[in-house]
Subunit: 226 residues, 2 copies
């Protein structure tokens, strides 16, 4: 039986920050509209494939490699500077409008909050700072510290250790079913935010809580037995 | 230094059989045109994510889960029968027109040929039988036998074992950079066929041979020093 967590780790991209503006950035490279929906799953596919073979590479390297490959597929000559611009624009993604209230709800209830990202800690800090929420986040935890990608158990266990908590006292909030699946298997409590995807894949472990916004997820986590 | 392989394992989907007709199958479910490019990387992303957490699920289960999720995202009620129809239509994908000649070239040079698929062995046999090439394939090797997905090393090593060969005497031919990467790391010789993707991601190990068709890949593999 899951209990109320002592801390929450928030996934960052898509969960807290809307990724949609990146589609325009890709269009500026000459890619057809909607290319974000093609590129982003490929970035994750490649990252997870490398995790399967035991090779760690960071977000920027994998994302750039997949982007160059997609550009070539569309007969567009890769341009290093423009590709770098796309990666850098992650730092300027807009926060989902409900995130601030969700963070306030958790903090008011005495729940500690950290970010847990497959991206870089530096970019993540910039993103929350840009949204005026830097001070609400106790730690910006990145996979860079363990050189493994979520959904590897090592990442969630590292987050729990960084917060000095047992995995069962920590909850992951994420908008990705594969992230929820990994956290469930690592022993965390989980809350799924159905942003773009109303439901996760049935091949993945179900979350403890399903919500549409961070406040809704926060309320459900706070309602778990102490 | 790589040497001429004693046997070749052919990746199946996209490498030997064109996947494009599936886009129409997805449109018949009500999904927008181009959805194949969104769905298929997600299927692989999910499979690799599950591989990362040490959970084996077969192709049909993962593909169906990702499809139901994509349908929900498009506000289309999932229909079990229609989704099954999509999965079944993999068995009827058309063979790339160059595959037969490539297989003949390899066979004429005394090279043994097997198929190595992340799909099911039964479906793969049906696909090659439909193309009149069943007898040219010595073994239909599926990840089902090791309950791990490519690019896990165990799969390529299993294939080498099934063919009673050292990994260095076996070559993988594939149209996916992550498949090449896994095979390189497992010690196989590799040939990349640039079908949809002119170049693989720079985050992945480069192949020994790059070609546009199977005959071209075959000739390059046969030209390696004995």
């Amino acid at each position: 039986m899951r209990h109320k967590p002592k801390a929450v780790v928030l996934d960052v991209i898509e969960t807290c920050f809307a990724i949609d503006p990146l589609d325009e950035k890709l269009s500026e490279l000459g890619l057809p509209a909607g290319s974000l929906k093609v590129w982003f799953p490929r970035v994750l596919r490649d990252a997870f494939a490398l995790q399967v073979t035991g090779t760690y590479k960071g977000f920027a390297e994998i994302a750039t490699g997949a982007l160059a490959s997609l550009l070539a597929e569309n007969k567009i000559e890769p341009n290093a500077e423009k590709m770098e611009g796309v990666i850098e624009s992650f730092a300027a993604l807009p926060i989902h409008p409900d995130v601030k209230e969700g963070i306030q709800l958790l903090r008011a209830a005495g729940i500690r909050i950290a970010a847990l990202t497959n991206g870089s800690a530096t970019t993540t800090r910039k993103m929350f700072a840009g949204a005026g929420l830097e001070d609400a986040i106790e730690k910006f935890i990145s996979i860079e510290e363990v050189k493994q990608w979520k959904p590897a158990a090592a990442v969630y266990l590292h987050a729990a250790k960084q917060l000095d908590l047992a995995p069962a006292d920590l909850a992951l909030v994420a908008a990705h079913d594969w992230d929820i699946d990994g956290a469930v298997k690592a022993g965390l409590t989980t809350a799924y935010i159905a942003r773009r995807q109303p439901r996760g894949s049935s091949a993945m472990s179900p979350p403890d809580v399903t919500a549409h916004t961070l406040p809704e997820a926060a309320r459900a986590l706070l309602a778990l037995p102490g």
